[in-house]
């Protein structure tokens, strides 16, 4: 009984970690640009296909390919789609991100077809380990570990490097940051590169879990993670990560705790929970500070 509870908990935390990483990638771009980037899903997707391309050679090559693919696509999208729209209002940016998202997805369907492809990525993590009498999936533990490492690394980067400081300043007041001499292109391109890196990590873990790659992958993750950034507090990075984590955990707990006949409605329960959070804390759980009074 306790063993089962621990298993569900580990499952929940690992899924929460994936959503937290996704939400952090989305939140980073929203922070510096006020852009809700739905094309983040395609960063995950392209990284998934990079894994498909290279996993037979070596796992290391697959991970490197995923990172290179997602970071490159993120930079190309920023340069070609979003840089010309710099300073546009958030609604325009949102619609542009939908356009980019559809464009890449449809192009991928044209190129490789819409059928899912099986990937036996990281099969050595499919096994189970027994810790204190509880059998746990190795992959879930690795997912939790990678999530924690990346969250800590991103936090360190933002807190302790010059570029991270510039990104935080730009997130709070982009105009003032530029007045002080911070170069917008550098900060925004870096944010996109990091979001690509996070998307690649999510893709590797997700592909290892599901064993599938398809042009539509990533969309579900991004939509749920976006909900996470909203309840965490749009514009706040700790809020995004925490909100994403919370939503992921809630998804798994709902699946485990709901009576079987209600399980198909787990997303409905999730969104009721989200609505309740937003009624009581419309600014999110960890709201961003200092977003008012921008010059």
């Amino acid at each position: 009984m306790i063993g089962q509870a621990v298993q569900v908990l580990v499952d929940a935390v690992s899924v929460g970690g994936l959503y937290a990483l996704t939400a952090l990638g989305i939140g980073l771009i929203f922070g510096v640009m006020r852009l809700i980037n739905f094309a983040h899903a395609q960063l995950i997707m392209i990284a998934g296909y990079a894994v498909l391309l290279f996993f037979a050679q070596s796992a290391v090559l697959a991970v490197l390919g995923a990172v290179a693919g997602a970071v490159l696509l993120a930079l190309v999208v920023e340069r070609m789609a979003f840089r010309p729209l710099r300073g546009a209002d958030p609604a325009t940016l949102l619609i542009a991100s939908f356009a980019v998202s559809f464009l890449i997805e449809k192009m991928m369907i044209m190129l490789v077809g819409s059928r899912p492809k099986g990937v036996d990525f990281l099969p050595m993590l499919a096994g189970q380990v027994e810790i204190a009498g509880v059998r746990l999936q190795l992959l879930q533990l690795v997912t939790i570990l990678v999530s924690v490492v990346l969250l800590v690394a991103t936090t360190w980067f933002l807190k302790s490097t010059r570029l991270g400081l510039e990104m935080r300043a730009a997130a709070e007041n982009f105009r003032m940051a530029e007045v002080l001499g911070i170069r917008a292109n550098r900060v925004i391109a870096s944010a996109f590169a990091i979001s690509g890196l996070l998307a690649a990590a999510v893709a590797c873990l997700f592909v290892a879990q599901t064993g599938l790659v398809q042009p539509r992958m990533g969309l579900q993750l991004v939509i749920i993670a976006f909900v996470g950034t909203v309840i965490g507090g749009l514009g706040s990075l700790p809020g995004a990560a925490f909100g994403g984590f919370l939503v992921g955990v809630a998804t798994i707990l709902l699946e485990a705790l709901l009576p079987p006949e209600l399980r198909v409605f787990r997303e409905a329960f999730l969104f009721v929970g989200v609505a309740v959070v937003l009624i009581f804390r419309p600014q999110g759980l960890i709201p961003a500070r200092g977003l008012a009074g921008r010059i």
Partner: protein, 254 residues
């Protein structure tokens, strides 16, 4: 009408505005302004709300691009300079409302002020800020948003000065501050001036600005209605009408 005085100093022209027009859609906030500021000079622009003073500063800072006319910084046209490079030309801005980064620490705000600099003396300069303003030193690791209004103003000025500007522009530096704090702010501005930094000051508090400035301009509805030394302007009959007249009418209406 506008009387831009030709006061070419040995330091040379730092800023030159010619026929500056700034439009926001159908509204013209600035409608043809000429202004020259020499190195080491302190110029005050006073006038009622909505006169176009903030737009003028925003244009010199590169935030707002003029619809017509020219801006030259040390002879170089501003039109070809990116917003983030204006500070590298020696122009620093303390905007209205200060715009410190409230979620960043005092220290981080100051480090951002030194963004254009590559030299090794940045941390020595920051230490000097902490020596001059012990309260900022005590709170160096606290979020700047927790500082009082006066402390935030000191931080905003210190942050701007860390770029080592030739021209420091301040938009309403006394706004919302207690009189004794305003005294302090103006003491600092006097010190900055004595280091040879030019000042361009926008104020509603004309008396304060005039006490500091070499020259003053009265701005109303997008144009300079008067220009001269502060003493000349205070003697001028039109000054009350152009400035206090409007301010008093407002106070009466409120």
């Amino acid at each position: 009408m506008t009387v831009p005085r030709d006061l070419t100093s040995p330091g040379g022209r730092l800023v030159e505005l010619g026929g500056l027009v700034i439009r926001y859609g159908a509204i013209a906030a600035v409608q043809g302004v000429d202004l020259a500021i020499d190195a080491g000079e302190a110029v005050a622009i006073v006038g009622p709300n909505g006169a176009g003073k903030t737009s003028l500063l925003s244009a010199i800072a590169g935030i707002v691009r003029p619809s017509a006319g020219s801006i030259r910084i040390a002879g170089r046209p501003l039109a070809g300079i990116a917003l983030s490079d204006v500070v590298r030309e020696g122009v620093a801005l303390v905007p209205e409302g200060r715009n410190i980064f409230g979620s960043l620490t005092v220290m981080e705000n100051l480090r951002l002020g030194a963004t254009p600099r590559r030299d090794a003396s940045v941390s020595a300069d920051i230490d000097r800020v902490f020596a001059d303003f012990p309260i900022l030193g005590e709170r160096r690791d606290q979020p700047a948003g927790q500082l009082s209004g006066g402390e935030q103003q000191m931080l905003a000025i210190a942050r701007a000065m860390l770029s080592r500007p030739r021209l420091l522009m301040l938009d309403e530096p006394s706004l919302g501050l207690a009189p004794n704090i305003v005294d302090k702010v103006y003491d600092i501005l006097r010190q900055i001036r004595s280091q040879g930094v030019s000042l361009l000051l926008v104020e509603q508090n004309a008396a304060r600005a005039f006490a500091l400035a070499d020259r003053a301009c009265v701005m109303s509805r997008g144009v300079f209605t008067l220009a001269g030394t502060p003493a000349e302007i205070e003697r001028h009959d039109a000054f009350d009408a152009a400035y206090f007249g409007v301010a008093m009418a407002k106070a009466g209406a409120a």
